[in-house]
């Protein structure tokens, strides 16, 4: 073999290396095939999983089945109650719940589960806001883009208050849930008729029906996010036949799978082309006040999300249905809340050029506070104000813990 021929063969071998190295299946094929492989698990393994799920369901407190029963009742009473906007009230999972959906009359009561005496959870950790930090969990939970009229502004500002805050209550409920176990996740999967496939890293479980894959995960520490589920169709789901708009389609789809919210919410939809994102924004009932939205670490409202293409669901994600215990806690006054908000930006002396921001709105909200085995939904006051710097409109948000400082651990 001469040198030239040798070089030719070496070049061809390099091309072959490249050809084999770069020949790969189309994107998504690996996950599709893995799903198919899992679907071919032996029938005995499936049965074992299903039985284990059932047995665990009998052994443990039936949080999900109770919710499912409540949802069934809601569906039986008529999905027509649901409208595109305004307050929607789901059935509660516990006997102490006294929410009602009758002709606009609202009764307030504990969210679900057991109601403890005032301060029953002891000293509470405080909620915090992480302004300006993009929410990394945005791919798997409702992110209401409409709730962010300006860019978040993380820098120092000089704050003033020009709004009006009426806190007509002196106490508010705090809600607590226990961190779900894999058994809880398995129960949830079983309630959807899904079979356990695996426990991928970061998830309590991955489950599957013939139509969709469901993943369940526990609480995320940062950014704080409660245990959640995400449903992704394996194949195109059947379009939903609903008389109303996108929100009705979303709710009917959720109800078909016993996932319609058992908590109060309002709905918002954003459409782009034939794709619509429906957000069911979670609220908590506060006796004597009304409803308070749940906000994330950026101060944005969130809850359940259903993505639609036309009338066909393409994704559903939201909080895992969990039983909540509740206990009332004294909260600060409006004046104290304003003082705390204004005191939250002490960098004026260090940054004399800090923009001046007038906080113009404030509302009672709920914020998730992650705390180990048990986490809390705690009341807080969310102050907001927009301002312009270099032609850009920014939004400043300040979250003030509403629970009386004497009942907080920090």
């Amino acid at each position: 073999m001469n040198d030239s021929e040798d070089l030719e063969l070496q070049a061809l071998q390099r091309q072959l290396d490249d050809a084999f190295e770069t020949t790969r299946p189309r994107p998504g094929f690996d996950d599709e095939l893995w799903t198919r492989i899992q679907a071919h698990r032996l029938a005995s393994a499936r049965l074992r999983d299903a039985w284990m799920g059932l047995i665990q369901g009998i052994r443990e407190a039936p949080a999900v089945p109770m919710g499912a029963v409540a949802v069934l009742l809601v569906v039986a009473l008529g999905v027509g109650v649901v409208t595109l906007s305004g307050v929607h009230i789901g059935g509660g999972g516990g006997g102490a719940t006294s929410l009602s959906a009758g002709s606009g009359q609202q009764q307030y009561g504990p969210e679900a589960g057991r109601a403890g005496p005032p301060g029953a959870f002891g000293r509470l950790p405080s909620p915090v806001l992480n302004p300006g930090s993009p929410d990394k969990a945005a791919d798997s939970a409702a992110q209401p883009t409409f709730a962010a009229p300006g860019l978040p502004y993380p820098g120092p500002v000089t704050l003033t208050w020009t709004g009006k805050l009426d806190l007509n209550v002196t106490s508010a409920p705090v809600f607590r849930y226990a961190e779900p176990s894999t058994n809880t996740a398995d129960q949830f999967g079983a309630s959807l008729g899904a079979i356990l496939l695996s426990r991928p890293g970061g998830y309590l479980g991955s489950y599957e029906t013939s139509d969709f894959n469901v993943r369940v995960r526990g609480t995320i520490q940062s950014p704080a996010r409660e245990p959640s589920f995400i449903i992704l169709p394996i194949r195109a789901l059947a379009p939903i036949d609903a008389a109303g708009g996108s929100a009705d389609v979303a709710v009917v789809f959720l109800a078909q799978h016993s996932l319609a919210p058992t908590w109060p919410y309002t709905s918002e939809s954003t459409t782009s082309g034939d794709e619509t994102k429906v957000l069911l924004l979670r609220q908590f009932a506060v006796n004597g006040h009304g409803y308070a939205y749940l906000v994330n670490g950026n101060g944005e409202r969130y809850g359940l999300e259903v993505d639609l293409k036309g009338n066909t669901p393409t994704l559903a994600t939201g909080p895992l249905p969990l039983s909540l215990d509740t206990a009332n806690y004294s909260i600060i006054t409006a004046d104290e809340a304003v003082r705390s908000a204004l005191a939250s930006s002490p960098a004026v002396a260090a940054s004399p050029a800090a923009p001046s921001v007038a906080l113009t709105t404030a509302e009672l909200v709920y914020s998730l506070v992650v705390a180990g085995d048990h986490s809390f939904y705690e009341p807080a006051i969310l102050f907001s104000g927009s301002f312009v710097v270099d032609g850009k409109t920014y939004l400043k948000r300040v979250l003030v813990p509403a629970v009386d400082p004497a009942q907080r651990s920090s």
Partner: protein
């Protein structure tokens, strides 16, 4: 489960691409390659309980399954496919635009030529460039390591000749 045996999913994620590339070099369409690759891993999944890492490497084990699945495919469809390739003697039909994007065009033609080599030469090239050692190639092709090397080099020369002939 043996301690030195990886989780099947790890094996699957690590080898899916290589197995697909190996199969793709043998068959005329990405759809067939997907079907065969799927069959390979279905078979492997069912047989994994019997896999013993001390007897063979996971790569050699998987490529043996892949080779058998490809041979099965040819038994069922091969005569028609080989006839078509011989008659058409042109790049493989690939109507699906997403399929065109799936692989680099310049390498697809090369793999296509590999696919037209005699069976054992085709296998020698495909297995070797899928990352197997000559010893593993020899085991799979039921010959010695030296024989596998000779077979491979003959195959590469044959491929070069085919490329030159078609380019002429």
């Amino acid at each position: 489960m043996l301690a030195d045996r990886p989780q099947f999913e790890d094996l699957y994620r690590a080898y899916l691409g290589r197995i697909y590339a190996y199969v793709r070099a043998q068959v005329s369409s990405s759809a067939d390659a997907e079907d065969i690759t799927a069959q390979v891993f279905m078979n492997a999944y069912q047989a994994y309980a019997r896999f013993e890492a001390r007897n063979t490497t996971p790569a050699a084990w998987l490529f043996r399954i892949a080779r058998n699945a490809t041979l099965d495919h040819f038994r069922a469809h091969g005569r028609r496919e080989r006839l078509r390739r011989t008659i058409e003697h042109q790049p493989m039909a690939e109507q699906d635009p997403s399929g065109l994007a799936e692989e680099r065009i310049q390498y697809r033609a090369l793999l296509e030529r590999v696919g037209r080599l005699p069976e054992r030469q085709r296998d020698a090239i495909s297995l070797r460039h899928s990352g197997l050692s000559f010893e593993e190639v020899g085991t799979l092709l039921k010959c010695s390591e030296d024989a596998a090397k000779m077979l491979y080099h003959r195959a590469v020369k044959g491929l070069r000749d085919a490329v030159e002939k078609e380019g002429a």
